[in-house]
Symmetry: C2
Subunit: 188 residues, 2 copies
């Protein structure tokens, strides 16, 4: 829980007493590798914060293969926000890539939380602003670069992460086939 508190305190102030209050609205959970946190079609009832480990969000495309749209590492929030915002069936599934420590805030408790701790409204605004900014930059990169350049760029930006996940997941995230990624790796 300390990881989450530390993250929040980077954006807003929170006394020890307020931290106590906060913890009553947070559900901590330990998940095993490959454990599912959200299934396509279910309602996304919680926002998920990764304290330790790694999650992925994906869907099954028409060819029947998994297409990864997002990873979440330490200190990132992950949700199907369309499902969360409107409480409608999810487009995406969320699964643990590694054994992970996750902290969840439920949609139906978020109102009460922000009433109890108004500064949390600001915190959520700021993390969403950063997440949206990252999404804009992602469009920039993947429009601008071809697949090969995208792979090299991504590898050099997150060298540790590339080792951490299976290659076929990286291929899926970058939008290329495992075969082609294999060819690129051979080249250099």
């Amino acid at each position: 829980m300390q990881v989450l508190l530390a993250h929040i305190r980077k954006f807003v102030s929170l006394s020890d007493e307020e931290a106590e209050t906060l913890m009553r609205y947070v559900r901590p959970l330990e998940v095993k590798k490959k454990e599912m946190l959200l299934r396509e079609g279910d309602i996304c009832k919680e926002m998920l914060f990764v304290g330790k480990g790694c999650l992925r969000m994906y869907y099954i495309n028409e060819k029947g293969t998994e297409q990864i749209t997002q990873f979440a590492l330490e200190n990132w929030w992950l949700s199907d926000y369309t499902s969360y915002d409107r409480q409608q069936p999810a487009t995406f599934s969320i699964q643990a890539v590694e054994a992970s420590e996750v902290y969840a805030i439920a949609h139906d408790k978020q109102d009460a939380l922000t009433r109890a701790l108004p500064q949390m409204e600001r915190y959520f605004r700021l993390i969403l602003q950063k997440a949206y900014a990252a999404a804009q930059m992602r469009v920039f990169f993947f429009h601008n670069l071809n697949r090969e350049e995208a792979y090299r760029q991504f590898s050099s930006m997150f060298p540790g992460f590339v080792q951490r996940i299976p290659q076929y997941m990286l291929a899926s995230y970058l939008g290329l086939t495992p075969e082609y990624l294999s060819e690129l790796r051979k080249k250099r």
Copy 2:
């Protein structure tokens, strides 16, 4: 200004008196077609709300051609959020596609605004949540569909909008060449 007030009131309550207060923090501006609202390299000092008209966000890629990453129509907010959030030089430029009515909120006034009207913190959180949700769905569509399908999907989702903008801008936004788009239009 009524358009903005109406939009805010869809998410949070705002008395007439509070609306008065709000207006002191908003800069309304009329822009002509092709007028620039942000240039790459400048600091994005404001969030922009489109009351009427249409804006586009773009950058110049290494080949020297404009690459559009986003459009904003009526009731949408647009900014280079990386630049806005960290007050650092912008990656993108923003320009009016049509003559437009725009309402701007300055970064250095946003704090004072949310102190004067705490419910605005909630408003911004909610519109960012929706914007981020839309960004997630966009990744879903454009990973899943090939260029032809993306074009047909987009045309059927926003038939009016496709008429409203020049073809080369649509091509740029969808990430294909004007020549190829022309070929697709001929086909059906």
